[in-house]
Symmetry: C2
Subunit: 446 residues, 2 copies
C-alpha cells in the first residue's frame, strides 16, 4: 500500500485533453476548485478530510519509464505529449480548508492553481481521495455524536471497497472521533490505535466454549476480551463468571466481553447482571453487529449497559450515501474567470474564499462565499498549504486533526446536531460573486 497511486490511476480524458493543451501551448495558469454540490440526504454538515493524501499525491506525481512505455504502446498519445509527461511534476499552489473543518455545499474546500495541463491531470485522483475520506469522516462523526461519550472502534475493513478504502476509512473515522480501528495496517501507516478481540471461528475451533475462553486468556493475559454469542449469549456469560476465579488465581482479569447478534440491549442487560452477580463489575461490554448511528442512538437512549461499540459496514461504506455529489471545476484560466452552465450543474466562477462568522454564542452563525479579492468579515477558511509544488508547512499530526474535529463539534450550531436534517446552515453568496457570474455570462461564449 503506497499512499500515492500510479498517475495512470486517472481517466483517459485527462491524458487526451492534456495532449491538446500541450499541442496548443495552453500552459497558462488554471484555477480549479473542489466542492460538494449538495448535502447527502440525512446530513446537516460535512467534515473535510483527505487533504494529506492529496498533498502526498501531488508531491510524488511522476510517470515512470514503465508507465510511459506502456502509454506509448497504446498509441493514444503523441511523442511530444509523452515527452511532456516524462518531465511532468506538480509545480502549482494549493489552498485548502484544514482537515477536520466543518463545511457546507458550494464551499470550495480545496483550490489548485497550476499550469493548465497539471491542474487538469490531477482531477481524478484528487476527487477520488477527497470524496472518499470526506464522505467517511462526515458519516463517522454521526456515530461519534450518537454514541455521546462511549468509545467507538472501526470494524469495517472486510466490507470496505478494497484495500485503500479500508485503510483510509480507519484514518477518516479516527480523525472524526473514533477511538481506534481493528485494521492493523492503519496502526502501522497512520498510528491509529488498534483493537481486537476474537471471532466465532475461534470458539468453534475448540471442543467447548470455556476452553476457547481459557486459551484466549492464556495467549493474551493483558487483554482478555471474549466473544460470547457463538451459541447462547447468557450461558456463555455464566461460563465467563465460572472461569474468572481460575484466571484470577493466575493473575489474569477478564477485561471485557463482546456481543455480536440478537437484541443487543436485552443481551447487554442480562449479561451485565450475570457479570455483576459474579463479581465481574469491572468487565466491560462491547457491542457490534450491523451498528450505525441510528442503532447507537437507540441503544444509548435505552440505557443499555454497553461500554463501547464497534461500527463496521455502515460507516466504512457510508451505506446511506456511498458517494458525494462533488466536483472539481475550472474557475479561471489565463486570468479569465469561467463557469459551466450545464443544466442543474452551473458553477460559481473565479478564485474563491469562504468566511465564517460567529454569533453572540460563539458558534458559527453564517458563512459567506466570495472571491479571494473580496475580503469579508469573519474567519477565512481556506489557507495556503502548498506553494510551487512544495508544502507550505509540515502536515498536522492526525491527533491534531482529531482535536480540531472535536472542537468543531463542540462549537457546532444546535440546529445541525440532530441525526435528521434540520434548518440548513446559512451560507451566503457575496455580491462580488453574483457580479462576476453576471459578467461572465454577459461576456458569453462563442
Amino acid at each position: 500500500m503506497t499512499p500515492s497511486a500510479s498517475p495512470l490511476l486517472t481517466d483517459l480524458y485527462q491524458l487526451t485533453m492534456l495532449q491538446a493543451y500541450v499541442e496548443q501551448g495552453m500552459m497558462e495558469t488554471a484555477v480549479f476548485e473542489f466542492f460538494v454540490r449538495k448535502l447527502p440526504d440525512h446530513r446537516n454538515f460535512m467534515i473535510a478530510a483527505g487533504l494529506e493524501q492529496v498533498l502526498e499525491f501531488l508531491e510524488s506525481l511522476r510517470f515512470t519509464h514503465d508507465e510511459l512505455d506502456w502509454l506509448a504502446h497504446t498509441q493514444h498519445l503523441t511523442r511530444p505529449c509523452l515527452n511532456y509527461l516524462e518531465h511532468l511534476r506538480f509545480t502549482g499552489d494549493v489552498a485548502a480548508m484544514p482537515e477536520g473543518t466543518v463545511f457546507f455545499p458550494h464551499e470550495p474546500i480545496l483550490r489548485v492553481t497550476a499550469p493548465l495541463p497539471q491542474a487538469q491531470l490531477v482531477e481524478t485522483r484528487i476527487m477520488n481521495l477527497l470524496n472518499f475520506q470526506t464522505m467517511i469522516a462526515s458519516k463517522a462523526v454521526r456515530s461519534v455524536m450518537a454514541a455521546v461519550d462511549k468509545p467507538l472502534i472501526d470494524f469495517g475493513l472486510r466490507r470496505a471497497h478494497g484495500a485503500e478504502a479500508g485503510l483510509l476509512a480507519a484514518r477518516a473515522s479516527y480523525l472524526a472521533g473514533f477511538a481506534g480501528t481493528a485494521t492493523v495496517l492503519a496502526g502501522k501507516v497512520y498510528g491509529v490505535p488498534i483493537y481486537g478481540t476474537m471471532a466465532h471461528s475461534f470458539v468453534q475451533a475448540h471442543q467447548n466454549e470455556s476452553t476457547a475462553f481459557e486459551h484466549f486468556a492464556e495467549a493474551h493475559p493483558e487483554n482478555v476480551f471474549l466473544l460470547i454469542d457463538t451459541y447462547d449469549t447468557e450461558a456463555a456469560a455464566r461460563k465467563v463468571v465460572a472461569l474468572a476465579p481460575r484466571l484470577k488465581a493466575r493473575g489474569m482479569t477478564i477485561k471485557g466481553v463482546r456481543l455480536d447478534s440478537g437484541d443487543l440491549a436485552e443481551h447487554a442487560r442480562n449479561v451485565r447482571r450475570i457479570l455483576d452477580e459474579g463479581g465481574l463489575t469491572e468487565t466491560r461490554i462491547l457491542a457490534s453487529g450491523n451498528l450505525d448511528e441510528y442503532r447507537l442512538q437507540a441503544l444509548i437512549a435505552s440505557r443499555a449497559p454497553i461500554d463501547l461499540f464497534a461500527v463496521g459496514t455502515a460507516m466504512t461504506t457510508s451505506s446511506d450515501a456511498p458517494a458525494l455529489d462533488c466536483a472539481y471545476k475550472l474557475q479561471e484560466y489565463a486570468g479569465r474567470p469561467c463557469r459551466k452552465r450545464s443544466e442543474g450543474k452551473a458553477t460559481w466562477p473565479g478564485r474563491k474564499q469562504v468566511f465564517r462568522t460567529s454569533g453572540p454564542n460563539g458558534r458559527p452563525a453564517h458563512d459567506v462565499i466570495t472571491l479571494v479579492s473580496d475580503v469579508q468579515p469573519g474567519e477565512p477558511l481556506l489557507h495556503p498549504v502548498m506553494q510551487r509544488g512544495r508544502r507550505s508547512a509540515p502536515s498536522p499530526a492526525l491527533d491534531a486533526i482529531r482535536k480540531h474535529v472535536a472542537a468543531e463539534l463542540e462549537g457546532l450550531p444546535e440546529q445541525l446536531r440532530p441525526l435528521s436534517p434540520g434548518t440548513p446552515y446559512d451560507v451566503r453568496i457575496a455580491p462580488a460573486l453574483h457580479d462576476l457570474a453576471r459578467t461572465v455570462d454577459e461576456r458569453g461564449v462563442g
Copy 2:
C-alpha cells in the same frame, strides 16, 4: 498499486487468535467457506468475482522484516508467534466457483482448506476482495441487461472508494459485460479497453466552444469525440455540424458527441436531428451523468437515439447496496464439522458443494447445497483452483470470464431477468446437510 496488499491489511483479531492457535498447537486442518447470507434488495442473483485477486493474495502472502519489526514493537504478539509469522506461507487448498458464475444466498463460492492459523489469518482480505468485486459485478450486470445491446463504459473512478476500488470496479464491470473503462490503469493492469472524451474544463479553458472542438480534433484526429453540454447542448450540436466540413477537408470525421446533463432523451433526439440534417448521420451519441440501470432502462424504453452509455457512481459504489451480507465461516476443524448458532446468523456445517440442475428448456432449474461427500444430480459448481498453495491451473483470461458471464446471462431463468425482484430461484438444502446440522447440534458444545 500492487494487486496484493500487506498481510497487515487485516483485523487485529486474526493475529491475536493466531497467537493462541500457535501456543495451543492448534495446527490441524480447518475448512472455511465464503458465502452471501441474503441477496441485497433489488437483486435476483449474484455474479461471483474477485477469485483471481484472492489467489494472488494467497500466493504472495508473507510478512516482511519491516512488518515483523513493527508488530514486535506493538507488543501485541509474543516472540514464538512472530517467529511463526516470519515463516508463514499459504500451503492450503482452495475450491471455488469460476469467476462470472451466477450464484445465490448460502451457496459457498469459495472454500479454503488449510492449517487453522493460515485459514483464519486470510479471512479479512478474502472477504474484502470477494465482497467488493462480487458486489460490483452483480450491480454492473444489471446495467448490461438494461442497456440491451448498447455498449457501456465505466466512468466511476472519481467516486470509487479509493484507488483499489476504482481499479477493481473497472475489472468487475468489464467481466460483467461493460465494453471498457475510462480508468487508464485498468488498461495497463488488466487489459481492459480504455475510452475517453473530454471534460467541461477543456471547453471552458478555450475562449469559445468551436475552438475547443477544433483543438481537440487536431490532437486526436482518429477519435474526435466532443462534449456538447457545457453551455447549450443544441447550440453546440450546430457548432459541431458547422465544424464538420472544415475537419473533413483535413481528413477528420467527428466520431461522436457526449451529453452529460439535462433530459438526456430529449437532448439526444434534438441532437440526432441536428446532426442528421447536417449530414453527420454516422456521428454517435454517448450519454453520461448519474446513470444507473433504471435510467438506462427508461432511456432504452423511450427509444432515445443514444448509441452508448457511460455509467459511473451508481455502479462503482453499488449505490443501492454498497455491501453484501457475506461471511467467511469455519465449517470444520480437525475433521469435526461445526456451525455457529448466533441469532439470525446460524450457518450450515461441513465441507460443501453446490449442484446445479437444468430444466427441459436448458436453463438452470434449481440448485442443491450439500456435503462434498454427497453427490447429487447436476453440475458441481465449485472446482479445485489451488492445491498446497499453488494454482491448479493458469487463471482464465479476463475475456474468457467475460464470455462466461455472457453465457450465464444468456441461460438465465426468465424470472431472474427483471430489475425488480421476482420469484426467487429454487435453492435446496440436501438432506445430508440437514442431518449433519442436527448431529452437530445434538453433539452440543460445552
